[in-house]
Symmetry: C2
Subunit: 491 residues, 2 copies
């Protein structure tokens, strides 16, 4: 199966789209901006979900479910939230259809108009804090540590599979705390959970930091984010965690009796990652031969392809590989044995290569005689001959190696594409020639941030956490600055 698609060099954007569609990860649907996540893509998302869900539970969180609909008036309650969110969204105005008078199809029944329109959630702070109002009376009811796996809708004008879609899947954590410090700590804890997941599961190095005020979540006092670098030198925000202060508690009047028996507003955080992670995963590691998946998130970790010329050979090989399959499964490794006779081995090789299966084992009659197999790894495309004896542990070790190698490769790519720049000319030149992360001094004002964005399309991705303080001058205004921030063009 020759997958006809451009190289990254030729057309990075087309390369990405073709990869997503031809590898059966997702496709556009009949509804503008909404995608269909196909089984192979969804299997990766399930692995992402399962790993994150365990991390959330290990840090004390529980799952719950809140309504899809938000009454329109809720959005007006938190002033900056409405500015940021309530504009481009799907509005439900009616609750019934009826047969059209011409007998052709159905029309909206104007008699079934809602008194108050309902908004499809673009995020759930408002509906959740409206509920928390009834749940929280005293400090004994705190903290509330809840997460929700859900679909959300933001009416995006320009959409791209996984990266920006009108409907997408995500998780949103919404926590309530008795003190400012505890809420701040929670926001940071969850940023670290995201960073841990990105680095150890997705093999994706991340920069941790805070967002500039202009890039903050609508309604947050502080937004923490992780940022990753894609192979075209553009940044992708892969997760955010917000310290919301008492803004939503004030908007929804959520007070509690503290330990000193005084009424106070509750402190809040929210944090989320979405199917956008799929886009990051695909773009970070894949190459001109197709997908490259880190073993920890690959739906199929090992594929075994028998090479046979007769039914007799096929059944001999099939028999021989059974202990290998069972042995790998015993180690928790997912294996596919593809002995179809409708496709040639060469077709299968390129198919599984294209689909990013980390390890391929090929076995033919001569291998059986010699007690060996051929093992090919997807990340380096290298092949090696393994003895069949005790091969399971070697394969497990190889999968570990591949996982680590992908991370090291991505770190090294990021290092090669990170530049300290000290003048605006250099800034613009590096952006155009190379892209990547640019560490530069900034005077801290929204005005210069905005002008840089207008003139170069680069934004401040993060103000790095725990970075070294360093005196310098803003590349745009020359005004003094104490710390470099990270600029990039971004998805």
């Amino acid at each position: 199966m020759a997958k006809d698609f451009p190289t990254r060099e030729e057309n990075y954007s087309q390369w990405y789209n073709d990869l997503v569609i031809k590898a059966d990860l997702a496709e556009n649907s009949a509804v503008r901006g909404c995608m269909i996540i196909k089984p192979y893509g969804y299997a990766i998302w399930e692995k992402i979900q399962s790993a994150l869900d365990k991390m959330f539970k290990d840090t004390g969180h529980s799952n719950a479910y809140f309504p899809l609909f938000i009454p329109k008036s809720f959005f007006s309650k938190e002033a900056s939230h409405v500015e940021g969110f309530a504009k481009e969204c799907a509005v439900v105005t009616h609750y019934r259809l009826k047969n059209s008078p011409d007998g052709k199809g159905v029309i909206v029944d104007e008699d079934a108009k809602l008194e108050e329109e309902l908004i499809i959630r673009p995020t759930s702070e408002t509906i959740i804090w409206d509920a928390y109002k009834n749940w929280i009376k005293s400090y004994r009811d705190l903290p509330i540590l809840i997460n929700q796996w859900a679909n959300v809708v933001r009416w995006e004008m320009r959409t791209r599979l996984f990266l920006r879609t009108t409907e997408f899947l995500w998780q949103e954590g919404h926590t309530a705390h008795a003190t400012r410090d505890e809420a701040l700590k929670e926001a940071e804890t969850m940023l670290n959970v995201y960073a841990d997941f990105a680095e150890n599961w997705m093999a994706l190095p991340v920069l941790k930091g805070t967002k500039s005020p202009a890039e903050r979540f609508a309604g947050a006092l502080e937004t923490y984010a992780i940022e990753s670098l894609m192979q075209d030198g553009k940044a992708l925000q892969t997760g955010t965690s917000h310290f919301l202060g008492q803004n939503f508690a004030k908007a929804f009047d959520v007070k509690f009796l503290n330990k000193e028996n005084q009424l106070d507003y509750v402190w809040a955080t929210s944090w989320g990652v979405s199917t956008r992670l799929m886009g990051a995963l695909i773009m970070a590691h894949s190459d001109d031969n197709g997908l490259v998946l880190p073993p920890k998130l690959a739906p199929i970790q090992v594929v075994i392809v028998p090479v046979f010329k007769s039914e007799e050979q096929r059944s001999m090989i099939t028999k021989k590989v059974q202990p290998l399959i069972k042995g790998l499964q015993k180690l928790g490794i997912s294996v596919k044995y593809d002995d179809r006779d409708t496709h040639k081995p060469g077709w299968k090789f390129s198919e599984y290569e294209f689909k990013g299966v980390p390890v391929r084992i090929t076995i033919g009659p001569r291998d059986i005689e010699q007690g060996t197999v051929e093992v090919a790894r997807r990340d380096t495309l290298e092949k090696e001959t393994f003895q069949l004896t005790d091969i399971e542990n070697k394969i497990a070790h190889l999968l570990d190696q591949i996982q680590k190698n992908l991370y090291v490769k991505a770190i090294s790519f990021r290092e090669n594409n990170t530049t300290n720049v000290d003048s605006y000319d250099e800034f613009k030149r590096i952006l155009d020639e190379k892209g990547g992360f640019l560490y530069a001094h900034w005077d801290g004002t929204p005005e210069s941030e905005e002008r840089i964005k207008e003139e170069t399309k680069a934004t401040i991705r993060v103000i790095p956490l725990n970075s070294t303080q360093e005196k310098g001058k803003c590349i745009y205004t020359g005004r003094p600055s104490n710390q470099r921030v990270v600029f990039a063009r971004a998805y």
Copy 2:
């Protein structure tokens, strides 16, 4: 914590509602008819999901995700489907809000009106078959065995937590097959999966059968269902599996080249269970002391309550129970150790009893001396003294026993509430006096079914599979019948 709520005898309906709310399973939200599933309730749903998901995968299905929105015109494509589904549903007409001129809040932006309205999916046959059209060219592309976990919306006028809500969570399987027989077999396989799950996980006996034509899913040629009996003598449909024939393939023009190289329409099934299962689970086993949960679906299977009078005693007990906790966890048993000093043991006993925790272990200083603990089981409320030695296996065995006992109890309840009736007078009398499942002869016409429903509110729940053929007379018309069908009043 005294839970003040009526007994089943006093007010079954209020008993159910209070149980759901006071046991922190779910509550009504600010949006009419939409519920909030709280962490304790959601933890049960997660266990249901996880068990079912494994059963779906073990029978060859994969998960995927299709859009929330369905273009209005899609509903008109399958004639009977639109009659059954497209009427009471949420309609998205606009995609933007704007600040209201008076500066107070937001209003719908009339300039952002959709050309074609979007319906929030009440079920996804139409949007999925529109996609399948592009996926299926030849018999080699078949079967497609896909399941989706999703939220759906049906604009219900009268709602009840879990049993009937405007938005609910469910899974919907949508499969495509090359032959009629294969699709029929799939519909039956999934009915059996549902029955297996209900009986072995929910401890809920079910009747398997087909629906009468009047009760069929809109667009199906045959609807298979499982039906259970609740403690008030009413039936609850707990799962359905539909043989859709070629109806959706014809409506969406999905043809394939069969093995004989001829174009044919694809055969379809769909099948689903929803958060309604939560309602069945709660109603089937719980009693006047609160929830009773089958161990296999209980978020906490064992709670350990220490009885102490001093900090010294508490830490001695805490130390002593560590090996017990670890031992139980090793057997895959979920344990909660509640050593809070803010609540008395008696409060905790009734709290966990109310929440349906299957096994409670109490341990005090005297127990420590004697090497024993007190073990209370939720289903029978019996207490027993266990030696601490090798207690883990005994607890595991006890959990099994409780699981089985709940099923046996429910079977016996159903047997006591199942009646063969041979006249319409007897039918009406039994319905009013006792309720339950009534096996009666029916002439097979929609007219008598409809009249019986109008006059008695009883409907045909199922035409049992593999039931013995028996000559008889329709209780309503006296016309001949070959088989008894199952009537009941239902949720």
